[in-house]
């Protein structure tokens, strides 16, 4: 993605959605540290960012506990 592309994106109304994604997935109080979240719908947002905004523990599939 070129710089002008990303500036174009962030000049659009999408900036508010990107902040919402950053705030909710990457900030905020973590009480449990055991959260697992699916990827549905998030891939599209990643494509519009030059930096990964989402913490890995929010998106990685949970390992099933071994028997």
């Amino acid at each position: 993605m070129s710089q002008s592309d990303s500036l174009e994106i962030l000049d659009s109304s999408e900036v508010s959605l990107l902040d919402t994604v950053d705030n909710l997935l990457n900030r905020g109080v973590v009480l449990t540290g055991e959260v697992v979240i699916g990827l549905a719908g998030i891939d599209l947002i990643y494509l519009q960012l030059s930096a990964v905004l989402c913490a890995a523990d929010r998106i990685l599939p949970k390992k099933e506990p071994e028997e």
């Binding site: 710089q3 990303s6 500036l7 962030l10 000049d11 900036v15 508010s16 959605l17 902040d19 919402t20 994604v21 950053d22 705030n23 909710l24 997935l25 990457n26 900030r27 905020g28 109080v29 973590v30 009480l31 449990t32 959260v35 697992v36 979240i37 699916g38 990827l39 549905a40 719908g41 998030i42 599209l44 947002i45 030059s50 930096a51 929010r58 998106i59």
Partner: protein
């Protein structure tokens, strides 16, 4: 599927009005753990992240923020098995959460994203006194300090300084997004903040800034990053 208690926020006072409903239309309630309370509701399962559900949760948190003098949003997906489990988690971190709630009282978060080329890396400092271990640690300290600063927006930082109660900076190693500053300002200072950003826009040396807010203070949760 086991139902869960889904957590929206952490507070330290009673609400000034009805808590209303959560993202699934479920009634919200306070769960107390020591001096701290969680705002939570029953859901069938942890929701799947999507732009729509994230916006819906942010709307719930924004509404809740208007009901409490001080509120820390929970990260998306936070849940507990039941009220007893949530109360235990809150009580275990009571001191840390109380301190963070004190900091954000009456405040909102403004987010400033800075785009453009970085300033040239600073000249390497003369070797610190001491052995190789001390020099290594000193170099690491300087690197970490740089990752928590945005000298490229000096004039803007100066203009905003009187409005800030706290600041968190996250600098990026590469890319057009140079860094993000999360600023904690008094709720009534949000308009002045945006005006100061506009005022300084022409003095940024070719760099671009995008300011958004006011938001609930997501970036000022204890133990969060950066």
């Amino acid at each position: 599927m086991t139902p869960i208690l889904y957590i929206y926020a952490v507070v330290d006072a009673e609400a000034s009005g009805p808590l209303g409903e959560g993202i699934g239309g479920e009634p919200l309630r306070l769960v107390h753990g020591g001096r701290i309370s969680g705002v939570a509701g029953d859901l069938a399962a942890i929701p799947q992240a999507s732009p729509e559900i994230l916006k819906r949760q942010d709307a719930v948190v924004q509404r809740l923020a208007g009901l409490f003098p001080s509120l820390l949003p929970a990260r998306f997906g936070e849940s507990a098995a039941d009220e007893a489990a949530l109360a235990t988690k809150l009580a275990a971190r009571e001191g840390e959460l109380a301190e963070a709630l004190k900091l954000v009282r009456g405040c909102v978060q403004m987010t400033l994203r800075v785009f453009g080329d970085p300033d040239p890396a600073p000249e390497p400092a003369p070797p610190a006194a001491g052995g190789p271990g001390a020099r290594f640690l000193e170099t690491r300290r300087r690197e970490q300090e740089r990752m928590r600063s945005l000298p490229e927006i000096g004039p803007l930082s100066q203009a905003l300084r009187p409005l800030l109660k706290a600041e968190r900076i996250e600098r990026h190693a590469a890319g057009p997004l140079l860094g993000t500053a999360y600023h904690l300002v008094l709720r009534e200072g949000a308009a002045a903040y945006l005006a100061a950003v506009e005022e300084t826009r022409g003095r940024m040396g070719g760099r671009r800034v995008a300011a958004t807010g006011p938001w609930p203070p997501y970036a000022f949760a204890p133990g969060g990053k950066p």
